[in-house]
């Protein structure tokens, strides 16, 4: 976890420095704002990982001498097949088409999105070791 944290924190730091230089030098704000946001995008997850990297035991993937057996077993569970991503995708499709061809397309669009949201979530709850 250390390396991951350092990578993100380092990027955040660099963007922060760049932001400071740019902000003071240029006469334009948009770029400064965007670089500031970029800095946060480095610091927020980077800080999170750093916080955890100090509190947890090294994972097998961080251990240069780990054996394959150390990582064996269940990594996670999820539905092996699922229709909901497709449903959600179609919902998004119709929603976007509503921006172009008429507001009525929001009915199938948001309808499918809502249906997929419910379906997907309950699918996850049903999931687990089956």
């Amino acid at each position: 976890m250390r390396v991951e944290a350092k990578l993100l924190l380092g990027l955040g730091l660099f963007f922060g420095l760049m932001c400071a230089v740019y902000w003071n030098w240029s006469l334009e704000n948009a770029g400064g704002v965007m670089m500031f946001a970029a800095m946060l995008l480095g610091f927020l997850p980077g800080g999170y990982y750093y916080f955890w990297s100090r509190r947890m035991r090294a994972r097998p993937e961080d251990d240069p001498n780990a054996t394959a057996a150390q990582g064996a077993g269940v990594v996670g569970t999820f539905p092996g097949t699922s229709i909901w991503p497709f449903t959600l995708g179609m919902g998004a499709f119709f929603t976007v088409l509503a921006l172009v061809f008429g507001i009525w397309l929001l009915i199938p669009g948001l309808g499918l999105v809502g249906w997929a949201a419910i379906g997907g979530v309950s699918e996850s709850r049903r999931g687990g070791r089956v």
Binding site: A30, L41, A66, A72, V74
Partner: protein
């Protein structure tokens, strides 16, 4: 039905689990397997390459004479807009980070799947529907979007470009933008959380490293584009004046937003292809990647700098801080140079095997060198004032993107056998390479000369300068050769269909994906080797030939 994301222990040899569940079309619609999704991505994006290429051929046909009337002015504007948009938004990115990355990255790090398999499937559906949305523009009354792939305000407002085509362009980009963001999230989570035991960060293959950095760049850049598109849509339909002078807005703001995404996007496109070339060079030189750590740091440096150079696309606006963007852009040449030297270092004293993939990678290197060197000029504001918006720029970025196409084709020849279990025909492959490589140079080099002679880009006609016809004809011939190379690729797919079984590791390659079967089983591995370097498969197959550190001499055999 629920799946367990399971990782095998070293000694285990479970039999392939019986596959049940849906078949046929329903299987495709419901799959969450990263390999199937990645393959769908690859096929769709190659189709986009063909569509974008067809539009390009039409552009080149129009330019074969100074006052050609093959297409109208209006159609010409649609052609280059949709050519650029299809190629950038729908081909290059999705091919790299949705297609090959999706398939290869999890296997390279020993993961059973992507971290969020359903999100991964959603990414694909958003990409597919987004592509359809954008292309639908051709079938509307007003035609497709026609304001260039950069949609500069205020040309892109509802006054100057009314019509559904422009809105479909925005809508398509909203969908593909979210698709990219979700893929970025997925890649970062997969690489951070699903590596196999012993696969430390500094043992990840360069391809995976590059995709990690790409994914981080996606997360930094794409939300900015999405926000910009929403503002653009609001300006067009909700009466806001964010980008219009009349209402107190600032047109240049669009350019800032667009390029704040757009320049990192250049590296979002390029880094995955750099990764492919790196792996190919190592494998076909039978050597480790030279300067592995330097390579990783070069990639990170490129990504970091790439967020601070966006306004080099705006030098001629007269309202940006020239020295800042100039030095930042010039500095990117340094890590890029490191990569080029590392690639040559990888080949140095190797045993080079000139397979199709290797030829493509070498072609990539040469073409990218041309594109990179001409890019350095453009980082210098006075030289940019001189060449901006001329064919010099078109030539520069086509050297770069055609280099990426070469690397991508190399990637298909290299990893295709892993994904499908079958090899492609090498003779046709080599013919394809020569058509593509020579075609690329015949196509790009005259455009440099045209640009220096003052031919602006996005011109349907050039009535005042009929002398440009000759060079334009040469460029069009090159485009034709490139087109033929694509035909050869399709021919190869047909000819080689399930003909040459590949075996697990046909290239004696080094990284983890070559340890498993071709194609890999449902959750990728029946067993895993001990991972002690970034080349576990090589270490397993050639235990006596491990990589040497600096200053170490080869032990006597």
């Amino acid at each position: 039905m629920t799946d367990l994301l399971e990782r095998p222990a070293a000694a285990e040899h479970p039999e392939p689990a019986e596959q049940h569940g849906p078949t046929g079309l329903l299987k495709w619609l419901t799959t969450t397997d990263h390999k199937v999704i990645g393959l769908s991505y690859t096929i769709t994006s190659v189709m986009m390459l063909v569509i974008g290429g067809a539009l390009a051929e039409l552009i080149r046909a129009q330019l074969t004479s100074p006052n050609n009337t093959l297409v109208s002015f209006a159609q010409y504007n649609e052609l280059f807009t949709m050519h650029g948009s299809v190629m950038i938004y729908l081909f290059a990115g999705p091919f790299a980070f949705g297609g090959l990355a999706n398939i290869i990255v999890p296997i390279q790090i020993g993961a059973p799947d992507m971290a969020f398999p359903r999100l991964n499937a959603l990414s694909y559906w958003l990409y597919l529907t987004g592509s359809i949305t954008m292309l639908l523009g051709f079938f509307t009354a007003g035609g497709a979007a026609n304001f260039g792939w950069v949609a500069y305000a205020p040309l892109s407002n509802s006054l100057n470009t009314p019509g559904a085509g422009a809105d479909l362009w925005i809508g398509g980009l909203l969908l593909t933008g979210f698709s990219a963001i979700f893929t970025g999230v997925n890649l970062v989570a997969t690489i951070f959380y699903l590596r196999a035991p012993g696969m430390t960060m500094f043992r990840m293959p360069i391809f995976t490293w590059n995709l990690l950095v790409t994914a981080i760049l996606i997360l930094l850049a794409f939300p900015v584009l999405t926000a910009g598109l929403i503002m653009l849509y609001a300006d067009r339909h909700f009466g806001t004046h964010i980008f219009s002078v009349a209402g107190g807005g600032v047109p240049v703001l669009w350019q800032h937003i667009f390029w704040f995404w757009g320049h990192p996007e250049v590296y979002i496109l390029a880094l995955p292809f750099f990764g492919m070339a790196t792996e190919i060079f190592a494998t076909f030189s039978k050597k480790p990647v030279f300067g592995y750590k330097g390579m990783v740091f070069a990639t990170i440096t490129i990504a970091a700098l790439s967020l601070g150079v966006w306004a080099h696309h705006m030098f001629t606006t007269g309202v940006v801080l020239l020295p800042f963007f100039s030095i930042m852009s010039l500095l990117i040449a340094v890590p890029t140079g490191i990569k080029i030297f590392n690639w040559i270092g990888t080949m140095w004293r190797g045993q080079l095997w000139f397979s199709t993939a290797m030829l493509m990678a070498i072609g990539f290197l040469v073409t990218f060198l041309i594109g990179g060197l001409t890019g350095i000029y453009l980082a210098s504001p006075p030289l940019d004032f001189f060449t901006h918006d001329t064919y010099f720029v078109v030539a520069h970025f086509h050297s770069v993107v055609m280099a990426l196409v070469l690397a991508g084709m190399g990637g298909l020849y290299y990893w295709g056998p892993k994904v499908t279990g079958y090899m492609l025909n090498e003779r046709i492959g080599k013919a394809q390479f020569w058509f593509l490589f020579i075609g690329t140079q015949v196509f790009t080099l005259p455009m440099y000369a045209l640009g220096l002679d003052g031919m602006p880009r996005r011109m349907a006609v050039y009535p005042h300068d009929p002398q440009w016809k000759a060079l334009n004809d040469v460029a069009s011939l090159g485009a034709l050769l490139i087109g033929l190379s694509t035909v050869l690729f399709v021919v190869n797919l047909v000819v080689s269909w399930k003909k040459y079984p590949a075996g697990d590791n046909p290239w004696d390659a080094q990284t983890l994906e070559w340890f498993t079967t071709s194609p890999p089983p449902h959750h990728n591995f029946y067993r895993l080797p001990a991972i002690r370097s970034e080349r576990p498969t090589w270490d397993y197959n050639h235990p006596e030939h491990r990589a040497l550190g600096h200053g170490t001499r080869e032990e006597s055999h």
